[in-house]
Symmetry: C2
Subunit: 305 residues, 2 copies
């Protein structure tokens, strides 16, 4: 049995601003993305390939804050982070503060598979990408007008904001978790970070243990939310530890972290998880999280609120 879940960010999604047209567009984007992952699992492909494929599609959709559709930093640039982890071999790869790469999750996968390292950042990561024959796209590929308006608004208000704190376009990170028919699990996460961010700020997305984690013995987790809280609380690995050391179920562990520990500190956000049985868990303490899941021979689920 295979299963896969994806998210397109958690936050204050205002129902009154969600026209049926917008809702339809989001649901279609989520459906297209999860199907890309499912296709791989259906053919007996690996969880790691499935999460990468689903996240690629989310990165390609301008509706979400990752890849094309990434928010702008204070310098008017799109600066992206991504990570991936294979719960079978316990390998991980991540990139932080990169630009010009269509699919940051594939560069994270390249770091995992074809370097000795786990995390590469900035210009150095781009040099690695070039060496590995990744195409470097011009800035205009990433330009999405709605994002630029968000930047202008944020600058005017003098705030550095989480994408999902914006009251018109509320969506943050994207991610996927999957279990393949061979019993292996994997997770991947990708983001454009915060609108108007300065100072080379890096959130939880490229941090193994915080924004992404996978271990066949416990769970695969992909997070979205106010990154600083997820980093201080090492959220993704905390769920794994609650399962491994306290024998909590996936659902209980996710809810303990998201609906108790994060709420206590004020850390808004959510996550998706899968265990080796293929159970899926969605957990979020924000009003909404763009999400979808599908299990072998079951119907597709898509949710926003």
């Amino acid at each position: 049995m295979y299963s896969i879940a994806i998210h397109g960010g958690a936050g204050t999604i205002d129902k009154s601003l969600m026209t049926s047209e917008r809702e339809k567009a989001y649901k279609l984007a989520l459906q297209t993305s999860i199907q890309k992952g499912e296709e791989i699992l259906k053919k007996g492909g690996s969880a790691i390939d499935a999460v990468a494929a689903a996240v690629c599609e989310l990165e390609n959709q301008p509706l979400f804050n990752a890849g094309k559709g990434s928010v702008f930093n204070a310098a008017g640039k799109n600066e992206m982070d991504a990570s991936i982890m294979d719960g079978n071999r316990m390998l991980a790869g991540a990139v932080a503060g990169i630009w010009g790469i269509k699919n940051p999750v594939l560069l994270a996968k390249e770091v995992m598979l074809n370097s000795e390292h786990v995390l590469m950042m900035g210009k150095g990561a781009i040099e690695f990408a070039k060496q590995q024959k990744f195409e470097l796209l011009p800035d205009d590929y990433f330009f999405v007008e709605a994002r630029y308006i968000q930047l202008l608004q944020a600058k005017k208000a003098g705030v550095m904001q989480l994408d999902h704190a914006d009251h018109k376009n509320k969506k943050g990170t994207v991610g996927a978790v999957a279990k393949d028919i061979h019993g292996n699990i994997a997770a991947a996460t990708s983001t454009g970070g915060m609108t108007n961010k300065k100072f080379g700020r890096v959130g939880d997305t490229p941090i193994i243990g915080s924004g992404c984690y996978a271990n066949n013995n416990t769970c695969a987790i992909s997070c979205t939310g106010h990154g600083e809280f997820f980093m201080r609380q090492v959220v993704a690995y905390d769920i794994s530890c609650l399962m491994e050391y306290k024998n909590l179920s996936l659902e209980d562990a996710c809810n303990e972290v998201v609906k108790n520990k994060l709420v206590k500190t004020g850390g808004e956000g959510g996550l998706i998880g899968v265990n080796r049985k293929g159970d899926i868990c969605f957990s979020f303490n924000s009003p909404g999280m763009y999400r979808a899941m599908i299990k072998e021979n079951e119907e597709l689920f898509i949710g926003i609120f």
Copy 2:
């Protein structure tokens, strides 16, 4: 009761190459550094200030791979990472891929105390440093001839090496953990990374949960070793979870992670830890780790092998 411990890196420290003169120099540097931290604790200062002071002094000593004494990357630059965490307020700060800053640990502390963020990288982190009135030092402050020879040797051999994998100068990261008389604990870690490193590689040092973690309820941990293994295994937070969720003692938790879990994957290195009672634990699976500890009214301990 206060206590403090420091490390100056773990690795293959060859006894036969350790002249009594060299050994004396290392021991003096360790003693000077731990005393800087102890002075603060003795006066009733905080654990967070004590670990920062001790790590500053280790960064100022050219014998260790952090601050002055940092190894050179492939481009012939000193690129540094640091992190700090306050187990009382559960705040954390970190910087990755920075240069020109005399004491990276103080910049990490600045991120923790005077920004909304946990991690800043590269040029952006330097911009933040300038805004916060940190002095930017010229490259030659960081130039240490022995390090440059290491780079030339590494380039000749075509290897990117962990500092402590070098057979002449074996020392990696530096760090400190402390418990103050108010019952609070803290940890800090700082490094120059790997000799001849490329691609903006970032190791475990600036990763909260991997190279550094602190929580008054469990422990404060600072790691040193082959960073990629410490990142995949989320080492520092794993120890905290083993204490919190499995009720292991500090010593048992450290040894389970360092001498069992890391050994199984081939992850060489070690760490120092303190709990809220002020117990200190040194744990390493390498032949040596430069280290020192002192507890209130007890004698200073210094060890290398």
